[in-house]
Symmetry: C2
Subunit: 459 residues, 2 copies
C-alpha cells in the first residue's frame, strides 16, 4: 500500500549541526543530485563514477574556488532516500557552507523541508512510518534506555509486532468479505468463535502495548521527580550535588559536550527530570515556604517523590506521618534522612521503622551512590530488558492503538448481537485502518506533514 | 627537510560541530584506523575493501547495536593525513556520538589533540606549514575576502612566493659555502654584486608582504570602525539599523544560521567591526557623555571613523571644525548627516562644502545602502583583487618576515664592509632559517605545538 513517490526535484540541506567544526556535510537527494553537483565540482566526472565511492576535488563558482571537498556518491535505490544522493563534505565553516548551499540552489537544487529526506525514504519504501519516526527519536535520545528503545523501533521491532497483529485480522476480514460476495446464500467462511478468540487475543496485546507507554514515556521524556521536605532539610544542597556530579561526568569526552539540561540527571541509563526546582536552586531554601497546595500540585506532576528530612530535627513518628500525608495515592516515594553525620547511633536506630529509608549527608556528599541506586530501584526500570519487550513511546501510536481497541470492541459487540457480515467487516476494516496508520500502510498527507515537520532540516 | 613522521597510534575525534544534526562524523587516523573500526562494525569486512569506498552497517558494543552508520575508507597515503583514515557517519545525536567514541577508545584508539589530524598531514608532507595554518583560517573565515585569502593560502599561493625567494637565496648560500671549502685559496664563486642586487630585490618583496599585512589583518579580523557624534545625533539608532539588517540577511538559509557576533556587519565581503558600542546599544545615547579623552582613545583603536551629526542642529562650519579636530592623522573618516527627512533643501545645500558627505535618515532607514557603499569605498578594499596579490594575514609570518629582513640587512652590511665569506654565509643562513619557518621547512616542537593547539579538535 506504499505509494511509490518519484520526486522530480532535487533537494539539498546541511546535514550536520550548525557551528564551527572540522567538517560539515551538505546532502542532496533527487534525480539531479549528481548532475547538479557535477556542474560545480572540479575533479573527476561524477556522472561516470560508481555508487558508494568518494571523490576529492574543488567546488567552484565560475573560476572562484569555494572549497576543497570530498564528494560521496550513492546511486538510487542504494541510498537513504532510494533516490540519487550526494554528500559533500566541506570545511566546517558556516560561511563556506552558506556559499556552497547558495551555489547548489542557484544550479537547480531546492532547499529541503524539515524531515524531507526521511519522508522520501518512507515514501520510497525504505522503511515504514514507525521506523521513520524512530529516526527522530534516535537523534533526540539522550540516555541509554531511550537510545535502545528508539534503536529497536528504527530497526523494525515495533513495526513487526503491529504488522503481525494486522496480518491476523486481515485474514478474517477477507473471509468475511468473501461471504458478502455470495450475497443471499448465507454461507460463513469465517469462523465466528475463532474470530472472537483472535480479537480478545489482539486486545490483550494492545492493552500490554498501551501499558508499556507509561514506561515508554518515562524512558523517552524522563522520570518526573520531585524533592520535598521542610525548609533547611537540605533540598537545594542535595539537588546541586546530584546535578554537579552529573555535569562532571557528561563532559568526559572533549568535543562531545552536549547541551546540558539544567535539572536532569542520568542514572543507569534512566533520566530523572526534577520538577519545579527553580526555588531549590537558590542558595538557601529558607526562601521557599511552600504552601500545602503548591506542594500537592508538584506531587501531582511527578512519578517519583524524594522526601528529604533533617534527622537531627524530627522524630520517626513525625516522618511516618508526613510520608502518609504526602502520598495518599501510594506513588513511589523514597524517604531520605539527611545530616546523618550529625546523628548519634541511637537516633539512627529510632528510624528503623521507616520502610526503605536511605541515609545520606548531602553536604558531605556521603552515600549519594546508594541514593541513586535507590531511585533506580523505585522506578523499577533497571531490571527491564527493553530488547525483549515492545515499548510504545509515541503518543500518536497510543492514539491509533486506542482507536483500534475501540473498533475491536465494536466487532465483539457485533458478533455478540449476531450482526450481519457487512457490518462486522466494516468494524474490522476500521481496526485495520487504525493499526495501519502506525506503520504507514495507511497514510494521509496531513498525517505525514504532521510527523515530518517535527524533524530537523537535513534529515 | 620534512621529517617524515610515522605515528604508531591511532587517533579519533568528532569532526563535525557539536549539537543536534541529521548526521555527525567521527574520524580516525593511524595504522589501526581500519582494523579498530572493523572490530566494532557489523557489515562487510572493512579490511578487504578498496580505498575511497563507503559501507553501510551497524556499530555494535558486543550484541548491542549503537547505531546504523556509513563508514568511509581512505587508505594511506591517499587520505588527508596520508595515514589510513576512517570516517564514521552516524546519527547526529551527542549521546550516540559519545557512545561510539567511547567504544573506539576502548578498542585502542586515542582521543586526538587539537589540530592533530592537520599536524599529521603536515608532518607527512601533505602540505606545508603556511597551508596548514590556512586550514584553521578557512574554518574561521566569515566574510568573502577572508575566505578568499585563506583559500589562496591553503592552496599554496603564499607558500610558493616564500619558497621562490628562499630558492634564490639558497643558491648564493651554497656558492659562498663552496668558497669556504677552498679555505685559504681566496676564490669567489658567488658574485658579490649579484648577491647585493638579489638581497635588495628580496627585501623589496618582503616590504610589500609586510605592508600587505595591514590589509591582511583587516581582511581576517575586520575593519575596526567607530561611530562618533554628539549625544542625540542618532548613533545608537544607526548602529541598530545596520546590525539588525545584517541579522536578517545572515539567517537566509535555514540550518546555517551562524553565531552572530553582536557588533559586526559584512558589506561586499568586508567585515566592519564596531568598537566600544556597549554604550551605543543602550536605548538612548543620552547616557553616553563621552569625554574628549575617551573619544580619542576609541579613535586610536579604529581604522575607520563614522562622524554622525544631526543636520537640523548644527551648521556646516561646526561640522567641518569637528571633522578637523577629530582627525589630525587624516584617517579614513566618513561624515554622515542624519535626520535629512527633517531638513529643508536650503539647509542641505549649506552642507555642500563638506567633502564626501553622506545623508541619511537612520530612524527611517533611508539611504543606508549609500552609507554602506561609502564605507566600502573608504576602506578601499573593494577594488583589490586578492587572487592576484599575495597577502599576509598571520602575525607569525610577519614575525618571520621581519627576522628575515633584519638578517638580510646584516648580509648587506657584511658585504659593504667586505666581511669574510663565513660570516656572510652565517647571516644568509639566518635569513633562510626565518623564511623556512613560515612554510615549515624549519620547525621545532614548540613552534608546531603553538600552531596546532589553536586548531579545533577533530581537524
Amino acid at each position: 500500500m506504499i505509494n511509490h513517490h518519484f520526486s522530480n526535484d532535487t533537494i539539498v540541506a546541511v546535514a550536520t549541526a550548525p557551528g564551527v567544526g572540522a567538517i560539515a556535510v551538505i546532502r542532496l537527494s533527487g534525480p539531479e543530485a549528481i548532475t547538479i553537483t557535477n556542474t560545480v565540482f572540479k575533479g573527476k566526472d561524477l556522472t561516470t563514477q560508481a555508487s558508494h565511492t568518494i571523490h576529492f576535488g574543488t567546488i567552484r563558482d565560475a573560476d572562484k574556488v569555494l572549497d576543497e571537498v570530498l564528494v560521496s556518491l550513492f546511486m538510487g535505490p542504494h541510498s537513504y532516500t532510494k533516490e540519487h544522493v550526494v554528500e559533500i563534505s566541506c570545511h566546517g565553516s558556516d560561511f563556506i557552507v552558506q556559499q556552497i548551499m547558495q551555489l547548489l540552489l542557484k544550479h537547480g537544487a531546492r532547499l529541503a523541508n524539515a524531515g524531507e529526506f526521511t519522508k522520501r525514504a518512507f515514501l520510497n519504501g525504505q522503511f515504514d512510518l514507525a521506523q521513520a519516526e524512530a529516526v527522530a527519536d534516535l537523534i533526540a535520545s539522550d540516555s541509554a534506555l531511550s537510545h535502545e528503545v528508539a534503536m529497536k523501533q528504527m530497526r523494525g521491532g515495533f513495526s513487526q509486532e503491529i504488522k503481525r497483529l494486522r496480518g491476523e485480522l486481515v485474514h478474517f476480514a477477507s473471509m468475511i468479505e468473501l461471504e458478502l460476495d455470495f450475497g443471499e446464500e448465507d454461507v460463513e467462511f469465517a469462523d465466528r468463535e475463532q474470530l472472537r478468540t483472535l480479537i480478545l487475543h489482539i486486545q490483550g496485546i494492545i492493552r500490554e502495548l498501551l501499558k508499556s507507554f507509561e514506561l515508554g514515556n518515562v524512558i523517552k521524556n524522563g522520570v518526573p521527580t520531585v524533592i520535598v521536605g521542610k525548609p533547611n532539610a537540605g533540598k537545594s544542597t542535595l539537588l546541586n550535588k546530584l546535578l554537579n556530579e552529573e555535569k562532571a561526568i557528561v563532559s568526559d569526552v572533549p568535543g562531545t559536550t552536549r547541551d546540558f539540561i539544567e535539572d536532569e540527571i542520568n542514572i543507569s541509563g534512566i533520566t530523572f527530570r526534577f520538577i519545579d526546582t527553580a526555588g531549590l536552586r537558590e542558595t538557601t531554601d529558607k526562601v521557599e515556604a511552600l504552601g500545602v497546595e503548591r506542594t500537592m500540585q508538584k506531587l501531582s506532576q511527578s512519578s517519583l517523590i524524594i522526601y528529604l528530612f533533617d534527622i537531627t530535627e524530627v522524630t520517626a513518628e513525625e516522618v511516618q506521618a508526613e510520608l502518609d500525608r504526602l502520598n495518599p495515592k501510594k506513588m513511589p516515594i523514597v524517604a531520605v534522612a539527611n545530616k546523618i553525620d550529625q546523628a548519634t547511633p541511637g537516633k539512627l536506630k529510632a528510624f528503623d521503622s521507616i520502610e526503605g529509608l536511605l541515609t545520606i549527608s548531602a553536604a558531605k556528599g556521603a552515600h549519594l551512590e546508594e541514593l541513586k541506586q535507590g531511585l533506580v530501584e523505585k522506578v523499577n526500570l533497571g531490571k527491564l530488558n527493553v530488547q525483549q519487550h515492545t515499548i510504545v513511546t509515541n503518543l500518536r501510536h497510543v492514539d491509533s492503538l486506542n482507536k483500534t481497541y475501540a473498533a475491536l470492541d465494536d466487532v465483539l459487540n457485533g458478533l455478540a448481537l449476531g450482526m450481519s457480515g457487512d457490518l462486522v467487516a466494516a468494524d474490522i476494516r476500521r481496526a485495520l485502518y487504525s493499526l495501519g496508520e502506525i506503520t504507514g500502510e495507511i497514510t494521509t498527507d496531513d498525517l505525514l506533514d504532521n510527523i515530518f515537520t517535527k524533524f530537523c532540516i537535513g534529515k
